[in-house]
Amino acid sequence: MNFGFTEEQELLRAEVRKWLDENCPMDEVRAVSEAEDGEGFSRDHWKAIAELGWLGLVVPEEHGGAGLGQVDLVVLLEETGRSLFPSPLLSHTVAAGALLTVAGDAQRTRWLPALADGSAIGTLAVQEEPAAPGPDGVRLEGVADGDDVILRGQKRFVPHAAAADLFVAPFRGGDGLALACVPADAPGVRAEDWPGMDLTKRLGRVSFDGVRLPADAVAPLDEASLQRILDLGTTALTAEMVGAAEGAVALTAEFAKQRIQFGSPIGRYQGVKHPLAEMHVDVESFKSLVYYAAWCLDESPDEAPRYVSMAKALASEAFARIGIDAVQLHGAVGYTWEFDAHLYLKRSKWARPMFGDSEFHYERVARLGGL
């Protein structure tokens, strides 16, 4: 029994953290994400992390990736979360995971090497309504036309829609659910990002206006596979939430050591100290859950759904509170654009509903637990 990371994983963590500290400290996060006409991320960063192998971490070696597992991915994403790294990395990785779950050889060969080397940016386009995505929410329609499929409809709340080169999109066809690999430059595809609170994360809309796809761009998709794709995405997101929440706690604890009121650091007062301790308890708790969920996804898939949902349920409610408390415990400077506390608050708002909020996941935990 060993519920810890390997030396290689610790090394990966150290390397990721070092790169982020050197190349994307907070002023760079701000410069990149606040740039007026920017894409919400830096193409230079993208090239660099492609070379470091981050983009193909879970892509098998035969397709040009590193062939690592979900636990390794958690290590990477915890660190990008901690740094609030503005990047399509998360949705890109989830798109690759979706391809690996159901796509046929043609699509794997066509897209996975490009995703692994970063020459294409992928994103999972699954959600259509503000509520959590799931099999019932798939309305995008695919109609057979000879060997081709014509897609009509739209996906919304798509991460980095405007920048993506590939949309991995579940749709409803004549035979039920299916998964389409849609190149962004296919005729009839239009994508745009919406303005959002969290400038380090983009969400937008993609419309498919009679987009014609060859048969081999489509893979059959059953509910269980879609659920697995969603669980992969949920876990990856929750891993980023661990890092971001820890970042918020660390920032606030540091502030509490420095800020003097009534003659001593405010961190001495229990009204400050105890909420910080509670935040720590919460983060440790959803951290343990997401570590185990990630392990289950690769090694014990039957167990995975319960733990994925427990992790996201707790993460969603805990991080939301951490975001608010981080600002509040800073006092008025926490309300300024200049101080960083609000960046974590905004990240918590972004992450909470993605792949389902805590109510959604607690309900799933109840159901899976026999209630």
């Binding site: 029994m1 060993n2 519920f3 810890g4 990371f5 636990v71 706690v249 604890a253 509490a256 050591k257 001593s264 650091p265 961190g267 001495r268 007062y269 229990q270 400050v272 100290k273 105890h274 910080l276 301790a277 509670e278 720590h280 308890v281 440790e284 708790s285 959803f286 343990s288 859950l289 570590y291 185990y292 392990w295 090694e299 014990s300 733990y307 427990m310 349920a313 707790l314 109510e359 607690y362 309900e363 935990v365 109840a366 637990g369 026999g370 209630l371």
Partner: protein, 382 residues
């Protein structure tokens, strides 16, 4: 990460399971004194009492992983305890092993393992609870004896104990109050000791006040050096568990809660489902935090925050589960065992009135939060 067991560990688990299946055959009455006597003999023979202690002192020399396996299997089978001298096994023994003289080890450890008699713990005082380091119960050296005068309180099972592990003040160190504390092992029938049970809010009397009036304690019954009592205590208390047994019992409570929700016809209510799922999530987080801690211990790394994190989580769960179960029972909630509408033989009512044992005993939630904030997040002491 790897949650599989080695071949030896598997074999050990099978051995434990086979033993438990044989001992706890369906229909045995686990409360029957005859059965219990046989049980305690049998587990002692297997060296599962004091399983983590070195074999030289009569323990089992079990590895951390084997201990975890044993605890988990025991809890799952709802087996009786391993040994009957609760505090002796929990911290007096580990303190003796770390600080005791050869004579002390030979005198006390076999009796603890055999469950010959009970030990109790005399730390808290009326004026010093959370602030244990300021304790005032005095011991003055006179020749080969200490003379103890003062009072302890909340001493669990003092009235049924033969010995007490006692913290006393032997000197006033202005610079560091902890340096004046010494640990003594005192026989409870020594002249000058007076024990007065205290009734708790559940109606029972498990703890007591203990008064010391010129009680003479031979110097050979001092555990560790004079002034070393704080270290002795800390070491003993640090012999912490990964919480496996507690998690199993919470998981059983969770199953009970789900059954209760179904019986009371409320399992479809979203608010009820959410609340139960929250409880389940916290219990599983506690289980996994414990496994992370166990991994660290096995690797020989210093323990992180998991112990305090889990103490807080468990405290919250004890309160929440008992309280929620009462709510589910509606007007039957505030009745007690014996009343016809009460569910599950009054188990939830006992929980709803018994949580302070877990929540207050061994350090209150506020103290746990101080520990986390100061030792882990590095905030200044208050």
């Amino acid at each position: 990460m790897d949650f599989t067991l080695t071949a030896e560990e598997e074999a050990f688990r099978d051995e434990v399971r086979a033993f438990l299946a044989e001992q706890l055959a369906p229909g045995v009455d686990k409360a029957d004194p005859g059965f219990l006597a046989g049980w305690h003999r049998a587990v002692r023979e297997k060296r599962w009492v004091g399983f983590s202690w070195p074999r030289e002192v009569g323990g089992g020399g079990g590895s951390l992983m084997e201990q975890a396996i044993l605890k988990e299997e025991m809890a799952k089978a709802r087996a009786p305890s391993l040994g009957s001298c609760f505090m002796g096994l929990a911290w007096v023994g580990p303190a003796l092993i770390a600080y005791g003289t050869e004579e002390q080890k030979q005198k006390f450890i076999p009796d603890i393992l055999d469950g010959k008699y009970q030990w109790c713990t005399g730390y808290s005082e009326p004026d010093y609870g959370s602030d244990l380091g300021s304790l005032q119960c005095r011991a003055v050296r006179e020749g080969d004896e200490y003379v103890v005068t003062g009072q302890k309180i909340w001493t669990s099972i003092a009235m049924w104990s033969k010995w007490i592990i006692l913290l006393v003040r032997t000197s006033l160190h202005e610079d560091d109050k902890h340096k004046g504390i010494t640990c003594l092992l005192v026989e409870m029938d020594s002249p000058g000791i007076d024990v007065r049970p205290i009734r708790n809010m559940g109606g029972g009397a498990m703890f007591a006040e203990v008064f010391f009036d010129g009680v003479r304690v031979p110097v050979e019954n001092r555990l560790g050096e004079e002034g070393q009592g704080w270290r002795v205590t800390i070491t003993a208390l640090a012999h912490e568990r990964s919480g496996i047994a507690e998690v199993e019992s919470l998981l059983r409570g969770l199953e009970g809660l789900k059954a209760l929700a179904a019986e009371t016809g409320r399992a479809e209510e979203p608010a009820v489902r959410q609340r139960i799922a929250r409880v389940e999530t916290r219990i599983q987080a506690m289980r996994l935090n414990g496994l992370r801690a166990l991994t660290r211990q096995i690797r020989g790394e210093p323990l992180g925050s998991e112990t305090s994190v889990n103490k807080l989580t468990r405290a919250n769960l004890e309160v929440e589960m008992g309280d929620f179960a009462l709510e589910l029972q509606g007007a039957a909630g505030p009745l007690v065992a014996g009343a016809e509408p009460v569910a599950d033989g009054g188990r939830w009512q006992r929980m709803a009135l018994g949580w302070p044992e877990v929540v207050i005993g061994g350090g209150t939630p506020n103290i746990q939060k101080n520990i986390i904030a100061e030792r882990i997040l590095g905030l200044p002491k208050d």
